[in-house]
């Protein structure tokens, strides 16, 4: 049996910014290998892994999408040994001053993000937050050495080590969305123990944070009948309390809105209720900010579902998730898939 917490800790320590997912992909591929029947990498780097079903041909397919890319930064210029940078994915520049980072140059360099004082900035900035374009990374090295080790386009990731808080709460960066990779891993492991009619395609997608590139392309290749985006959602916490937030460690969320097929929602919700896996309805009045947004409109359209794992402090290096919710997400997917009848699509209707 895979030690999920151990796997997650390992995965969190690996870089893998959008479009540069290679290190994460290798680890995931290694872990999934014994759990699946077939695996390949898509032209833009998503990992496609098949757990074959036992139903008769043509066998219906379900796609489980968890994005593996991380947010971070990229070097855009070098000035007197200081590095200028831009973001990859969405980052609040107000978090950055004083942040420890790793610069992935010719070798990994530790660095810190620094904020020039007001006199060195355009007039009028005063004590206001400093825009990202005026922040620097200081590696502590001399200009010549920096110039020989770092070039434009080099990646920068958060240096925060993952750690654990009481009662199985994981803390670190890139829990968005490596926790969902862990949940899909749990699901694959469960599916190994039971027979399922459907083919299951576990997909670790790329570039979700930038272009939804994986979500747009993997379903094109796989052509699933159903697709689930497993991603993090907002946990209640300081500054986050409205209808878009859910208690940490008290269950997973199921999306309701235009990116979700209502019949698919109901089928999954029924399984959760039967197994007493706690779920919350997550209202998405406009869009889901996940791969589901892309997957739904691939080819002739795909019935999609959004499964959410509540997480605090999204897109900071100190994200927080309850292990219990990761387990729930994995178990729920596995139980739903195990019970999927071969003719589910014929029974899936718009309730008019």
């Amino acid at each position: 049996m895979i030690d999920i917490k151990d796997f997650l800790h390992n995965l969190l320590s690996l870089p893998g910014l959008s479009a540069y997912e290679e290190p994460a992909r290798q680890k995931i591929s290694e872990t999934w290998k014994p759990l699946v029947d077939e695996m390949y990498v898509s032209p833009i780097g998503s990992l496609h892994a098949l757990s074959r079903g036992v139903g008769s041909e043509p066998r219906p397919k379900i796609l489980l999408a968890c994005h593996m890319d991380a947010i971070g930064m990229m070097v855009t210029g070098i000035e007197d040994g200081f590095l200028r940078f831009t973001e990859v994915g969405g980052i609040d520049h107000r978090l950055l001053p004083g942040m420890r980072v790793n610069v992935h140059g010719k070798r990994d360099l530790p660095g810190v993000i620094v904020m020039p004082r007001a006199e060195l900035l355009p007039e009028g900035n005063g004590t206001a937050p400093v825009a990202m374009k005026y922040l620097f990374i200081d590696t502590g090295l001399l200009p010549e050495e920096v110039a020989s080790l770092v070039k434009i386009g080099d990646l920068v990731s958060f240096a925060q080590e993952p750690s654990e808080l009481p009662n199985d709460i994981v803390m670190g960066h890139t829990l968005d969305n490596r926790v969902s990779v862990a949940a899909v891993t749990i699901c694959l492991e469960e599916l190994k123990k039971v027979s399922h009619d459907w083919d299951v395609w576990a997909v670790a997608t790329v570039q979700e944070e930038e272009t939804l590139g994986g979500g747009l392309t993997s379903p094109y290749a796989i052509q699933p009948d159903l697709a689930i985006a497993i991603d993090v959602t907002f946990a209640k916490g300081p500054g986050a309390s409205d209808y878009r937030t859910f208690p940490l460690g008290k269950g997973v969320t199921l999306g309701i809105g235009s990116n979700v097929h209502p019949g698919f929602f109901k089928a999954v919700k029924d399984v959760a209720d039967r197994l007493e896996i706690p779920t919350h309805d997550e209202l998405m009045p406009l869009y889901s900010g996940t791969d589901a947004l892309a997957m739904q409109i691939v080819r002739e359209g795909i019935a999609t579902l959004v499964l959410g794992i509540p997480l605090r402090y999204m897109h900071t290096p100190v994200e927080m998730v309850a292990m219990k919710d990761i387990q729930r997400a994995g178990r729920l997917m596995a139980a739903f898939i195990a019970g999927l009848p071969q003719d589910f699509m014929q029974r899936l209707h718009w309730d008019d």
Binding site: P43, I44, G213, T217, Y220
Partner: protein, 331 residues
């Protein structure tokens, strides 16, 4: 190549109405493509070469369209109101001249008396010399382009529509010079890039390639007090790492860098914070494809006086030719 570039920038082709450029390119590539067709959107797709050992199906894209204006209203006194076709900056409008597709020319004025600030586009008008609505030779929906003569400054060239006719020129010249390739090349002269890379989206679908390369201009950071950007005129082709629409496939970036280094071609690495190219559509087409961009550094992008360095242009051809002459070993 200067004549080639000049013939291209002197031709009229606003987004959606690229037909004159299409005809010119057809003439220019006569005999150097194995197969030429125009698709439903108007993209000109030319195939060159057939797949050999170590070869790939490659889509190369340079867009034919240029930014322009569209008439939205002719007022009681014959002044033509307009909106943009593609990304037009109001700051470049005043005193400029335009030509409609029917040949009518006009000058741009504004409602505001202020000469210090750029007026909003909806406060500007085109004066075609008409007395009233009835006598105005322009009607709502008519398309116009900016008019400004081509200038050869020796090492630097200045013109409207260098974005992206210089890319078109690089692609044509490369097709000419490329004697032998293991690849099956689909040279796409795309339409409607300036309004959202629409032509490239459908061409990428039709071509269904394994690798996509766009040839387009990029901004520079080498003019007084401009936004910081590590690209300059005259320092060689810019290999795109990312822009606001995509991250290039790192394998493609590495391949381009290594090829440039091996061939002794100068190059720069580009990170562009606003703007994108046809490559972003190629990357997510169908099941996805490896995509990258060779950018031609260009000052004053989307003004009627864009400027490129001639040596950069020649080096872009050299780099592209080197890239396409040999088998590709990655992915």
């Amino acid at each position: 190549m200067k004549e080639l570039i000049r013939s291209l920038v002197d031709t009229t082709g606003p987004s959606g109405y690229e037909m004159q450029v299409t005809e010119l390119v057809k003439q220019l590539i006569k005999g150097i493509a194995d197969e030429v067709k125009v698709d439903a959107m108007g993209n000109l797709i030319a195939r060159k070469g057939t797949l050999k050992k170590g070869g790939k199906r490659i889509m190369l894209s340079a867009h034919m369209d240029e930014i322009g204006l569209i008439a939205t209203h002719v007022d009681d006194n014959g002044f033509v109101r307009f909106t943009s076709n593609g990304g037009v900056f109001p700051v470049y409008l005043l005193g400029g001249r335009v030509r409609f597709l029917n040949g009518v020319e006009g000058v741009i004025g504004s409602e505001s008396d202020s000469r210090d600030q750029a007026p909003a586009m909806n406060k500007c008008y085109i004066d075609v010399g008409a007395k009233d609505r009835e006598s105005c030779p322009v009607k709502v929906g008519d398309m116009a382009i900016f008019v400004r003569p081509y200038v050869d400054l020796g090492t630097r060239l200045v013109s409207k529509a260098l974005d992206d006719r210089v890319g078109v020129a690089v692609l044509i010249e490369t097709m000419k010079q490329l004697k032998d390739t293991p690849h099956e090349l689909y040279c796409v002269f795309s339409v409607q890039e300036e309004v959202g890379c629409r032509g490239a989206m459908t061409a990428a679908y039709a071509v269904d390639a394994e690798l996509g390369i766009a040839l387009d201009v990029t901004r520079t950071g080498d003019t007084p007090k401009c936004t910081k950007m590590e690209v300059a005129l005259g320092k060689g082709p810019a290999i795109k790492v990312r822009d606001s629409g995509m991250l290039s496939d790192p394998k493609v970036v590495r391949w381009m860098q290594e090829t440039a280094e091996k061939e002794g071609i100068p190059y720069q690495l580009e990170i562009l914070d606003a703007g994108s190219t046809d490559a972003r559509m190629m990357q997510v087409s169908r099941a996805g494809m490896s995509a990258g961009v060779i950018s031609i550094p260009c000052r004053y992008v989307h003004s009627p006086s864009e400027m490129v360095d001639y040596q950069d242009v020649l080096d872009c051809v050299k780099l592209l030719k080197a890239l396409l002459s040999n088998p590709i070993n990655f992915g």
